[in-house]
Amino acid sequence: MSPHQAPPANAKDIASPWRDDGSSRIPSPVYTSREIYDLELERIFYGKHWSYVGLEIEVPEAGCFKRTAIGERSVIMIRNRKGEINVLENRCAHRAMRFCQERSGKVKTLVCPYHQWNYNHDGKLLGVPFQRGVKGNGGMPEDFSLEDHPLNRLKVEVRNGVVFACFDHEVEDLETYLGPEILACFDRTFDGRQLTLHGYSRQRIPGNWKLMMENIKDPYHPGLLHTWFVTFGLWRADNESQLRIDEKGRHAAMLSRRAQKVTENVAEGVTSFRQNMTLHDMRLLDIVQEDWWGQHTVCMTTVFPNVIFQQQVNSLSTRQIIPVGPDAFDFVWTHFGFAEDSEEMTQRRLTQANLFGPAGFVSADDGEVIEFSQEGFRQAPEFSTLCELGGRDVGPTEHNVTETLIRGMYRYWREVMEL
């Protein structure tokens, strides 16, 4: 290897910043180091992990595509003429062009504008201009074969309208990957009903991507940071709650039940701990119990490494994490409903969307605290977080006063990263 080349990311070449064998004290470099981040891209985002790509309804017809990313690699989700979903790497086989620049659209074939290389919806190379030269001159070598130069096609699984993909075709099947506890949470929302797309919110958060996973594995903060939740009665420390976690510790779900009689409570005006504080407009909290919820009014599911599935009362979204270096990530919210929703329910979901997203009453501040944690990590390379609420172990609980889900993720992270 020439001295000018960066060595490939390899755990053996990286000094582990961890000072113990546990997962409750997370060292600053885990959030700030470029070489650790490069290894994460390799082993986590491009390794044997399923990444969320989108919802099937985003590409309703043959040729409809959506551009997104897994890790820092740009990919295209596209439906073919048989109705199947493909996920193709957005990189021409010729000169590596990221040829697809629109966010979404509909095409007959995928064409790289640089030299008009032309691919079908399965990523197969259909033709290249001047393959046989011009008037006997030039052209591709005799042994050039279109079949040898497709777009990189990822392994794909679609489960009840949700599309996952993986660069590594040796990955286990999605059901095994999620494990029974998390699969149950996933299927609770995505049970095969037809979805409808409500739209997107996008934000760039200047913090390490894992901090967002931690945020949604942390039931300690909502009642403390999100004053709005508490003020208007959506969160109380004594809410009945359950934390679920898969065997490997990488995925998790936080389920909770707000009040027994949701609608009655709302109709009474939501008495809050600030006794005289009520909303001027109750439509912001016009919560209607839906049959499929069962006993829980909230279910926040983190699927490692790049997606959070949100059911917060009537508001539904997927929140996709796209890392852009160790210090920032893009956070893409895709809000949806069900085709069976009444007009009132659709409106209710859209109004409750004011609580979530980059401006949300109870999530704008998540982005802010992540930014300031990142600043703290940068100024203190020797620091380790203290993540020991509820002990130092990993496992499911029937309460909220624990950081066990975060410890679970880092237990797994240390295994896969060998750090």
Partner: protein, 157 residues
């Protein structure tokens, strides 16, 4: 209303609105709207594709006041100033007492200890109505181009 005085009144409405958000009393913000007005901040992507999701969608003075309460009392955020730079207003139509108008805007954000940055830019799609209290927004959609919001959006645009 003559064409010229109408233009002057609209220009004054736009300038006063920006002043209210940038330097004035935030509590006065709902007064720029009719009582049942619809205020939206919506990514251009959703708007052009007829996807109904908004970044903020507030219907009426009540929700607007609830938002201000959230901004001032419950949402934790880094303090920042914002400054609106507006284009001239294009009057799309004017029938009876209702004016449809478009105004480009640029909102700069200045956080403590940092240089100013472009925070949000787009077009106000306005429906303005004449009321006994003067011109009010019956509808104000802030359709923004930079759909990747730099972290969080707290104050109204």
């Amino acid at each position: 209303m003559t064409r010229i005085s109408l233009r002057e009144d609209i220009a004054e409405l736009m300038a006063a609105y920006a002043h209210c958000l940038d330097d004035g009393e935030l509590a006065a913000w709902p007064d720029f709207f009719t009582s049942d007005a619809w205020y939206r901040v919506v990514p251009r992507e959703n708007f052009e594709r007829d996807l109904p999701l908004s970044t903020l969608s507030l219907q009426g003075h009540g929700m607007m006041r609830d938002r201000l309460y959230g901004v001032e009392s419950t949402i934790f955020h880094a303090p920042y100033y914002q400054r609106h730079i507006l284009s001239q207003t294009h009057i799309v139509s004017h029938e009876d007492d209702t004016i449809e108008a478009r105004t480009n805007y640029l909102v700069l954000r200045t956080k403590r200890d940092l240089p100013p940055e472009i925070f949000n830019t787009g077009v106000y799609h306005d429906r303005i109505v004449a009321t006994p209290q003067g011109l009010k927004f019956a509808q104000r959609f802030c359709v923004f181009d930079n759909d990747l919001i730099p972290n969080s959006l707290i104050f109204p645009i």
